[in-house]
Amino acid sequence: MSLTAEILISLALVMSGIFGFVGSYGLVKLKDTLQRLHAPTKATTLGVGGVLIASMIYFYTEKGHLSIHELLITLFLFLTAPITANFIAKAYMARNLRREDLPPSGGEYGWSIYDDPPQGKDLAPQPETPETPKAP
């Protein structure tokens, strides 16, 4: 393995270590549950990403083939992290917040935690003729 590859791998690993640590430290420092939610959903993405980049460089320089597993891990992470965060936020809102604590939705219907969806219609009605935005 060449020296440049080793330096790149070490840089990626150190960077991922720093971001992973900051994400975990955020869990301790921030006080509100919803604020805490921000630390693991974001600061850790780069933490995991750094390890994956290091792993890709290692396999490419050492074994001589490109490994796709790391890309798939990234894909699964991007699919699951927002959904987990959303579930935690919803559970927190349902247990600890009242309707008055949240700003109004600005539309006819309130937030879906407290209000039922419009009857007889889908969540987001698909127009029969697609309203293509007339881009200037």
Binding site: D32, P82, A85, E108, W111, S112, A124, P130
Partner: protein, 164 residues
């Protein structure tokens, strides 16, 4: 019609096949056939959960959107790390920001909500009951209106062009 029942979601089938090939990490004919099998069977079994076919156009726009989001994720990581490390706990001002949305398809709204969660200091918390606005929790913002406007013009306008 038969084609439509056999392959209700061509894009999903293609994605599943590619993901399978990536998972086994080795391209052989057997793996391709097995992956194509999964790509055919899984969409058929889960078709009731995907009633509409999202209209997706402009592959270049999708690539552009992906790159922008990737870049924003890197920026978001640094920003959130800075807030966690250097801001006094009392100085952190969190906000609830309602963002009105004009997207129609459930898929587009899902992508927007996921993007909001992954990018600078914001987590999407819930939707309005009629799907016309989205509630965003912001870790720290001096100007909540600017955050709302940025979400709308940076992500929503691009998604509107993709899912049109």
């Amino acid at each position: 019609m038969l084609m439509r029942r056999l392959v209700p979601h061509p894009l999903l089938s293609l994605t599943l096949t590619l993901v399978w090939l990536g998972l086994v990490n080795k391209f052989t004919l057997g793996n391709l056939i097995l992956g194509a099998g999964f790509g055919l069977v899984i969409p058929m079994l889960t078709a009731p959960y995907w009633p509409d076919r999202p209209r997706i156009g402009r592959p270049l726009k999708i690539a552009e959107y992906g790159l922008i989001v990737l870049w924003d994720i890197v920026v978001a990581n640094v920003q959130v790390a800075m807030i966690i490390l250097f801001k006094r706990e009392r100085a952190i001002r969190s906000h609830w920001i309602p963002v009105p949305i004009e997207l129609n398809s459930a898929e587009a709204i899902t992508v927007l909500a996921g993007t909001i969660t992954m990018t600078p200091g914001t987590v999407s918390a819930t939707l309005a009951a009629d799907g016309r606005s989205i509630l965003v929790h912001c870790l720290h913002a001096d100007d909540p209106d600017a955050v709302r406007d940025e979400i709308k013009q940076r992500y929503e306008t691009r998604l509107k062009e993709i899912f049109s």
